[in-house]
Point group: C2
Chain length 184, copies 2
DNA sequence: TGTAGTTGTTATTCACTGATAACTAACGAC
DNA sequence: GTCGTTAGTTATCAGTGAATAACAACTACA
């Protein structure tokens, strides 16, 4: 059934993309390597062979998500190097909610020291990048990341984002106060 | 080995407390009913008998966490019915980080519809309660909950709270801008 | 063409986990 | 005291899931 042979590098990238999908939905512990393998169309043992272990696959996925967010912000900063500009870019990322949610799962799994280290490194890097790009003050930075977490969590809860649930009163209330929450 | 016989009600409560500990550390999928049982000092099948299923146990734990946070806020509002007062109370809750983190795991597991419903109901209730207690404006509410999520996530990542990791530069930067972050 | 390296597979294992069944022991009322 | 009820146990199962081993097929190149 193996239609196409890819280089290990390409397969690696494809599997990280598949893992992003799967882990975002099920979390670290709640996702099987077989699910990831099926999405990518390869066998489960091959996933393990390429990454060594499930944990390594998850770490690679976390790094990928962090890198993608960083890249998005760097691109946005070329147009508008302010927190407002980056904030707008972040909300666009809700269309690719998996990026944000997989990080959220990383925060939750931070009790595992290896994952905790990775996720703190990732967050620290993003913090540093945003500061470097915008030169914002500590207070502004704090508010920016606070709003980012709210958006992420609301996305995870399906209150915000593409496949959001039919809105309850409290949701419209909260969303009404979000900057540009309405589009799409 | 069964030292003490408890009423089903008491055992129920004790098991929810144990589940809070366990689920906060491992998340929903990453925690076994046996771990919960061991903490409470009972057998694993008995946990299932009392709650019907692992999922029911988790839902009960979510409800408990939500109720505890609500109670904390109601108590705080008697002294100082402002967002500032409730915010202070919330930061105190970091001492009992499990309450916040188990909810965070709930957000992550919201893809499971049953859990998603529960977690949205819980969040909506907390939103409504805070509004009722403080009469805050939508913008203030948004900022309040945004900051709450930041605190929760930083707690989960061990950047904030009792057993925080040795601080990196970016952490001191971010924490320095947090109101009353220093105490304890 | 043969052979070495790379990309993959199937078969299998072994530990674990949620759930069920069947049994046992403590408590309270009469 | 004995008998129904409630609180708990041990034994067990059926399914799952990560990881290993051994093998197969494609590619490239002398």
């Amino acid at each position: 059934m193996a239609r196409t042979r890819l280089t290990a590098q390409d397969r690696h990238a494809q599997l990280v993309a598949a893992a992003l999908q799967a882990f975002a939905e099920g979390g670290y512990a709640g996702t099987t390597t077989d699910q990831v393998a099926r999405i990518a169309g390869v066998s489960q043992p091959y996933v393990i062979r390429l990454f060594g272990s499930k944990q390594e696959l998850f770490l690679a996925t976390l790094r990928y998500a962090g890198d993608r967010i960083e890249a998005t912000w760097r691109a946005a900063a070329e147009q508008d190097p302010t927190l407002h500009g980056l904030g707008h870019a972040y909300k666009q990322l809700l269309a690719e909610r998996e990026l944000l949610i997989v990080l959220l799962h990383g925060y939750g799994a931070a009790a595992e020291t290896t994952i905790g280290d990775a996720v703190r490194a990732c967050y620290g890097n993003l913090y540093t990048v945003v500061r470097e790009l915008t030169g914002a003050s500590p207070d502004e930075m704090r508010d920016f990341f606070a709003m980012g977490m709210l958006i992420t969590v609301l996305g995870a809860m399906r209150v915000l984002g593409p496949d959001a649930v039919p809105p309850q009163p409290w949701m419209t209330d909260l969303l009404g106060s979000m900057p540009h929450a309405g589009e799409k």
